[in-house]
Each structure stands twice: as C-alpha cells, then as structure tokens.
C-alpha cells in the first residue's frame, strides 16, 4: 500500500530513482497554498505520464501537473496534493511545418526556447506572457494567463489547434489535429486553456504559428485624470486601427515600474511624474503602417487632453512592453503583502474603476490598477505589513471585489495572495447555473477526481 511516506519509493520503482524527488527541501519548491506534495515525479515521455496516472488511480493519489511553477499559485487551494508531476522533461518538438505555420510541441518545452526555434523561420507564437524566460508551453496554456498580444492575436484558445493529454482514466488522448481548420470531433483541447491541471496532464500541444511582424512600435500618453485616460483608452480601441496592445496604467502602476527601472540600467523618465495616468499602445507591421498609426494616435492624444504624448523610441518601447508583459510578476511583489486580483466586467467604466479603488481605500490598503487589453483589470491590493490586521483587510477587500465584479455581471479571480487570504476568499461560482455543467465536464475527464482537486471552484 502506498502511503505519504513511501509514495516516492513506489514511484522510483515505477520510473527509476532519477525521475523522482522526495527530499523535503526540494518539495518546498512545489508548495501550493502551503500544501506540499509527498513526492515529485518527472516523467520523460507521454507513456511515462500514463504510467504515473495509472499508478495514481490504483493507489488513489492526487496529482498536480506543473511546468516551471511560475504560475502555480493561480487557482483555489487544492483539496488534496499527493504528487507533483513535473513535465519539464517533455521537451521535444514533434512536428513543425513552417510552410504550413503549424507546430506540435511537448508540454515542458520552455516558451523562450520555442520562441528562438520559431524565430529561425521568422515565425512566433503570440504568447507574450509573464515569467517568459522560465515558463513552459503547457504551463502557459493551463494557467490561462493573459498574453499582452491578445488584442491582435487572441488568447491561446484562438490558435491552439490540438492537444494530447493523459485523462483521468489513465489513457493518452488527443483532440483536434495539426491543421489550421478542423471540426472533427469535440474541441476538448479548448477546455484545457485555463483548466489549471484539473482535466488531465497535457503532454503535447499543437499550435498555429504566425509570421513575425516586420517591426513594432509603442506610443505613450499621460493624463491628469482617470476619466481622461479611460476616454482615450476607449477611443483608441474604437478606431479600428490594428493594435497589438492597449493598456491603461494608474499612477501607482507607473510608480512601481519607475522604481523597478531605477534599479536597472534602463529608465523611462516619463514615469517620474507619479500622479499621472498613462495609456500605452503597441502596434506592429510595415513602416508605412506604423507611421499611419502613430499619426492617428498623436491626433487622438492631442484631442483627448493628453498632457504628454509621444512615439517611444525602440529601446524605451521594448522596455515598457516587456515590463507590461511581466506585470503579473512584479505586481505580486510590489508590497510586503499583495493580493493580485484579475477582474473581468463587460465594459470597464470610470465608476467601476472608482468602486474597486474605493474597496481598497475602505480597507486601508494601497492599490495599483492596470486596465489591460480588452478591458481585463489587474488590481493589486497592497498591505504595508504582514500582521493579522493587514491580512484581514486583504481578505475583506478581496471578498468585496469578488462581489462587486459579480454584481457587474463579471467575475474576478485571485492571481496571487498570502495563503490565509487564498484559503479564505472563495471565488463565487459562475453565473447562470453553469456550475453543474462544469462539474460534469470535470467528472468526464477525471472520473476519480485525481487531477488538481479543488483548484477550480465549482468544478470540484
């Protein structure tokens, strides 16, 4: 019989000692919401993943798949966590037809490495995501993390064309295919996006790739008030210009970026004025297209009461674009204790932003707000210390944000928070009685509830 004490040994006999870790100091790196697994296993092939899942089924063990672990804290705390399945040994590229712009890549390949490989053919995958230097392809998909290119290219669901994964019956399954258009069978692979490991262990993902843009530029405008900034944000979004990214930065976000840059060789002097709201716009294409877009943005900025506005020179643009891509990473470490909430409401209005800010203020918390592309809000609630009062304030604020988002026919989720906040702040279930459907889908994939149990509220 397998127990917490011998699970590592049993797994070693299954896959070999070099594939298993049970040492306490190593397990710490795999902690989720304070929970540690009893062992970490690193399968080196889809077949080995299958063996691990079949072993878990037999021994009634829960598994949580992970890649580089950069986004492991997204999601509700697991209700059980016996074994971490580290997929970083799955690194091959099974198929790359550059002429067809299609790709099949193993789960654990680092996105950075894949980007380099695709760049050799002048192509790329439009996943401009945080922790870009370390994250794995499957981790990006399973975490559902935002890409700062979603405005132009969509989210992973829009260019993920197939997948292979081990399901809760312990079988290697596939969905979709390797062509760009396909309606053969159910699109099960779409469910994997943002599924947080609850539906299966991804072993391979098929994508449509894209040609690298000829060039890209950024434009930055500052505003005295949130109303002016939001008005410009909306005007820019309504122009019909082909934009890659539009983000609205609160003064606090600008200050954090300025402070981070101060510690590096890079600097963005524009952010020195910390009381301003900023709107950053990125765009890509041929030089003549860039010129045209820049001219129009300048015109809209002038007419939109921008206090400053400029086309960023290339280095500054790359710096700011890179910082915004990594917003998830630095926002969560922007104060001694931070709850980073991702909020989606149908249309973000100035009074919505004011209400979220008020919730922070009512709870005596600092906050920083980023309105990302397509109106996705990132709100960092920041406590200046770690005492119980601060944690209680974070808990209350997170709860109120959840309720406010729901009232606005939207939803919110925690991307990062102290453990005591995560454990307390249960995300309200989806609208419209879809809860039972979520549960049934989850059970279809994972009849024995072994994959990341509890991580998606409503699906457990």
């Amino acid at each position: 019989m397998t127990t917490a004490a011998n699970v590592g040994v049993r797994l070693e006999s299954l896959l070999g000692a070099d594939r298993v870790t049970g040492a306490a100091e190593d397990l710490q790196d795999f902690a989720i919401a304070g929970l540690l697994p009893s062992a970490v296993v690193r399968p080196a092939s889809a077949e080995e993943v299958t063996q691990v899942v079949q072993f878990a089924l037999k021994e009634n063990l829960s598994l949580i798949p992970c890649g580089s672990r950069s986004k492991l804290e997204i999601g509700a705390p697991p209700s059980r966590y016996d074994v971490a399945v580290d997929t970083t040994s799955l690194q091959s590229i099974a198929h790359y037809d550059a002429g067809d712009l299609t790709l099949a890549v193993d789960a654990g390949l680092p996105l950075r490495r894949l980007t380099e490989i695709l760049a050799e053919k002048n192509q790329f995958l439009p996943l401009a995501v945080p922790c870009f230097e370390s994250c794995t392809v499957a981790g990006v998909v399973a975490s559902g993390i935002d890409s700062s290119l979603r405005l132009q290219y969509g989210t992973a669901r829009d260019f993920l064309i197939g997948a292979e994964f081990v399901d809760g019956a312990g079988k290697l399954c596939k969905s979709g295919g390797r062509v760009v258009k396909n309606v053969t069978g159910y699109d099960l692979h779409k469910l994997l996006v943002g599924s947080l490991g609850t539906l299966g262990i991804i072993t391979r993902l098929n994508f449509r790739t894209f040609p690298l843009p000829e060039s890209s530029r950024g434009h930055l405008a500052s505003f005295a008030s949130v109303e002016d900034a939001l008005s410009y944000y909306k005007i820019v979004n309504a122009t019909g210009l082909p934009l890659a990214n539009v983000e609205l930065l609160s003064p606090e976000v600008a200050s954090i970026i300025a402070a981070i840059l101060k510690r590096t060789d890079l600097s963005l002097s524009r952010f020195a004025e910390s009381d301003k709201w900023y709107v950053y716009v990125a765009f890509e294409g041929h030089e003549s297209v860039l010129r045209r877009i820049a001219e129009e943005l300048e015109k809209h900025a002038r007419e939109g009461r921008a206090q400053t506005h400029e086309l960023l020179e290339q280095t500054a643009d790359e710096t700011l674009g890179g910082m915004l891509r990594e917003a998830y990473e630095w926002l969560r470490w922007s104060a001694p204790q931070v709850a980073l909430v991702r909020i989606v409401v149908p249309t973000a209005l100035a009074n919505d932003l004011a209400e979220f800010a008020r919730i922070a203020q009512t709870n005596s918390l600092q906050h920083a707000l980023l309105v990302r592309a397509e109106g996705v809000l990132y709100l960092a609630l920041m406590a200046s210390n770690s005492d119980e009062a601060a944690l209680a304030a974070l808990r209350n604020a997170v709860r109120d944000i959840f309720l406010a988002a729901r009232e606005k026919k939207g939803h919110a989720k925690l991307l990062h928070a102290p453990v005591t906040v995560t454990a307390f702040a249960a995300e309200p279930p989806p609208h419209g009685l879809a809860l039972s459907v979520e549960k049934r889908v989850r059970q279809a994939f994972d009849p024995h509830n072994i994959f990341a149990p509890g991580r998606i509220v409503g699906a457990a």
Partner: protein
C-alpha cells in the same frame, strides 16, 4: 397521407399540439418529408416537427420528449452538408426558424445577442450602419442560421484571417436534455472556469440545444482589395497558395476554383472567371489602406513568380461582389450539371496542397468521375466535389469509395476529416481513422455528461460501430445503415 402508428409518438404529437398549437407543429407525412433532407446526400425523417418561439417552449418540448423517450434533433435552415440536422433516429425535430429575433445589439462593446434562427447575413445587416459585421461567412450565409453555424462551428472564405464561428461566440444559452436552461460564457468573452463555449460550439447538437447566442461583431476594414489570379495549370495555382502561406502573407481570403468548376460557374453566373484558364485564385486583402497595398503587391509578386497568366484587381464593389457571387453560388451552379454531387471537406497542411490536388485528379480518373475543386485554399480546406447520379447504385457506391480514398489521403498528409461541414452522420464511420478507443471513450464521457441517454441528435459524430451509447433511445429501431458499411 397516413403516418406511421407508434403509441409513444402519437401521444407525444398530441401533447405537442396542446403545448404549441397546430400552427407550430407538423405531423403529416407530406410536411415531414420536407425535413428529411439537408445539404448532404443523407436522409432521416422526423416523426414530428415543432417550431418553438421561446426558450421556455424549447425546454417544455424537451421535457415532453424525454418523458416519451423520443429523440430530439435541432435544425436551423437545413443547409448543413453532413447530415447533422437530420433525424437519423426519427423523433422530434425542433426547427428554430421562428426563434429568429435579434434581441440586443451593443455597438460600443461590439456584441449582439441573437436567437438561433437568425440568418447569418441578417446579423450583419442589422449592424452594418455602425460599420460592423459578423465575420464568419459560410457560402450559405444568406440562408443558414446562426444556430446551425454554432452547432457546426461553421467557417467560410474569410475565416482564413478572422477565424471560424468559435472565435466569434462569447456566450450561449442552452437547453439540456432534461429541459434545464443553462447559460455559459459571458458578454465579455473571458470565461470563468472552463471554456464551455469552446466545447459547445461545433458539438453538432449532440450536447445541448442552443437557444440564445451572444456573438462578437467585427469592424469593417478601411480598405479592401480583391484579386483574381489566373493560371494555366492547377499546380501553379496550388504552389502559389503554398508560397503565400510560407512567406507569411496573410490574405483575408484565398479561394481556388479549378478550370472545370469555374466554367460551370461561368455558365450559370458570368462572374468574370476566364473560361480558358486551368485554375483561378480569388484573393482578398483587408485592413488599413497602407497595409492593403503592401499585401496586394506581395501577393501579386508570388502569383507572377508562379507563372500566373494575369492578376486582375476588382475595380469597384460591383466587380468584387460579382467575383464573390461566383464563388459563393458555385455549388448551386454544379447542381445543374449532375443529378447528385458529393462535397468533401477534408483539410490538409497548406504545404501539401499541390500533391493533394494531383491525387484528387487521379482518384477521379480511377473511378471515372469528374471531381471539381472549389475550396478554401488558404487554410487547406479542400472541397472536392464528386459529380454522380445517386439513382445509379454502382455510381453511388463508387462516389462513396472515391470520397473515402480522398479523405484517407488527406489524413495520410497529416490532415483531418472535416474543416467546417461537421462529422454528422456522413463521416461518423470514418472517425476511427483519426481517433483511438481512448479518444472515443473520453468524447463519449463528455457526451454523456450532457446527453446521458443520447436523446439529443443520436447517431451523429460517433461511429455506430463504437456504440458510444448512441442507439439507446427509442429511435434506435430506425437508425439507418451507414453509407460506409
């Protein structure tokens, strides 16, 4: 004309008449026969057709059918090409043609909430004054309904750049087989929890009935340029497509018509396709004026490098509309040539296009059929059209064999069975060529999570040979033999 006697069906018909009234229920054979067809070569007659007007009525119909253990199939305009909207097992057909209201349009957030019976093109008509349109544009868009588009995850020429239906749906209202009404997704489009819309779109009516749809609206482009590239060989045309793709040029549409097909189209429509050419490419680029000029020039360069005889540019909207009329009415034109045709929908990697077209030609020669090609070349979605006489049993069998050979070749090249028409009852027996038992087991469990008794659209997607619970319902006695057996 008399109708078949079946106590369960008779009782259900009576109850449906009470529920909906006689103007919204069809029970007579002469009426039902009109609903036994869609755009495919398949048939399946329902026992009763109902025309609900509200979601609540749909729910009530579903509950009644469940009580009598009678299967249900949803239907839009019946333009589908895979038998998806046919009552393979008889039962109740829910025709959504009277649930055809556009409920709400928000031009600022670019969303529209519509009922499933709204005709695809009517969504665009309702919002075009605001410079918006609904992007998925299947050839049948003047007739097909958005409910059918969602069920099949319909494509169209411009989905090359803008994506298929799934990319334009953010929320759905569903009626489950027990009558429960459920909403999934949200107006924003960023799902909480699982991407259930991603699963439901393209599920071919086998998971739930869709009673309300929230769609994304797209902005009309500032500039558009339509090009007609004319070739003396099919090989040159297909090589051009492969190179346009490989060079990262992204037209919004890239359609091919081979010489035989374009001559048939010309006889019917006079779209301006040159009759003496071996193939044409209908290409479109959209976007900012500057981008359109650059892309069009790049496309012209590739065409000329691949020996295009000429590249014509539509000079105005009416020339453009005429070219597209030729493309979109091509299937109608082919209907004049032979009593029957079999349209395939396989997809291949774009890099393999030249060899795939050569193979199709060989298969046609082998079986003595004319196989026309008019298809979405830019995304590798082939539509070989096998022309035959369905009244001739041998020809029918040969048409099926030729089609299967072509489809198998698509799979050999790394492609798939269907790019936009759906599996339906037409391709279900070919599914094992692509999917393993484990794949089917999982798909079956997902199917059963929604539709545990297979009361919704039985006999679709899953091969009958795989069981998959598809024939457990009352209609099992009328499941027809597959044409592939």
């Amino acid at each position: 004309m008399s109708v078949k006697a079946d106590p369960a069906i008779d009782a259900l018909r009576r109850e449906l008449l009470v529920l909906l009234g006689s103007s919204d229920v069809l029970t007579q054979s002469e009426d039902l026969v009109l609903y036994e067809y869609d755009g495919s070569v398949e048939k399946g007659r329902p026992d009763v057709v109902v025309f609900p007007r509200t979601t609540e009525q749909v729910s009530d119909i579903v509950k009644l059918a469940a009580r009598h253990e009678v299967p249900i199939v949803g239907r839009g305009a019946g333009t589908g090409l895979s038998g998806g909207a046919l009552a393979r097992s008889g039962g109740v057909m829910i025709a959504f043609s009277r649930m055809n209201r556009i409920l709400y349009v928000d031009t600022d957030s670019r969303r529209a909430v519509v009922q499933p019976g709204v005709v695809n093109q009517d969504i665009t008509r309702a919002v075009e004054d605001a410079g918006l349109y609904f992007a998925p544009d299947p050839s049948s868009q003047k007739a097909c309904t958005i409910g059918g588009n969602v069920a099949e995850n319909a494509g169209g020429p411009h989905t090359l750049a803008y994506g298929v239906t799934a990319n334009h749906i953010v929320a759905l209202e569903l009626v489950l087989p027990d009558g429960e009404i459920v909403r999934i997704g949200n107006e924003h489009g960023d799902p909480q929890g699982y991407d259930l819309c991603g699963l439901l779109v393209g599920s071919e009516g086998t998971l739930a009935l869709i009673t309300e749809i929230t769609v994304k609206l797209s902005r009309e482009a500032e500039a558009v340029k339509t090009l007609l590239a004319i070739f003396d060989t099919v090989d040159d045309a297909s090589q051009t497509v492969a190179e346009i793709t490989a060079r990262g040029i992204t037209p919004t549409a890239c359609e091919m018509l081979d010489g035989w097909t374009l001559r048939v189209v010309e006889d019917y429509i006079n779209a301006g396709f040159p009759r003496d050419s071996a193939a044409v490419l209908l290409l479109e680029v959209e976007g900012l004026r500057e981008a359109v000029e650059i892309q069009a020039a790049a496309i012209e360069e590739v065409c000329s490098e691949n020996h295009a005889r000429e590249v014509r540019v539509a000079r105005n909207d009416s020339e453009r509309d005429l070219l597209w009329k030729g493309r979109k009415n091509a299937f109608g034109a082919l209907g004049r040539i032979a009593p029957g045709n079999y349209v395939l929908d396989g997809v291949i990697p774009r890099s393999k296009l030249p060899q795939a077209l050569r193979h199709i030609q060989k298969v046609g020669e082998k079986y003595g059929f004319h196989i026309g090609n008019i298809f979405h070349a830019g995304d590798g979605n082939l539509h070989p059209i096998v022309m035959f006489d369905p009244r001739d049993a041998q020809q029918f069998a040969n048409a099926v064999s030729a089609s299967e050979e072509i489809i198998r070749y698509c799979l050999e090249l790394g492609g798939t069975l269907t790019g936009e028409h759906g599996v339906g009852m037409e391709k279900s027996e070919l599914m094992p060529l692509l999917f393993s038992d484990a794949d089917f087991d999982l798909m079956r469990r997902v199917h059963d999570a929604f539709n545990p008794n297979s009361s919704l659209n039985p006999g679709k997607i899953f091969p009958l040979s795989k069981g998959c619970g598809e024939i457990r319902v009352a209609g099992q006695r009328r499941v027809p033999a597959s044409p592939y057996k």
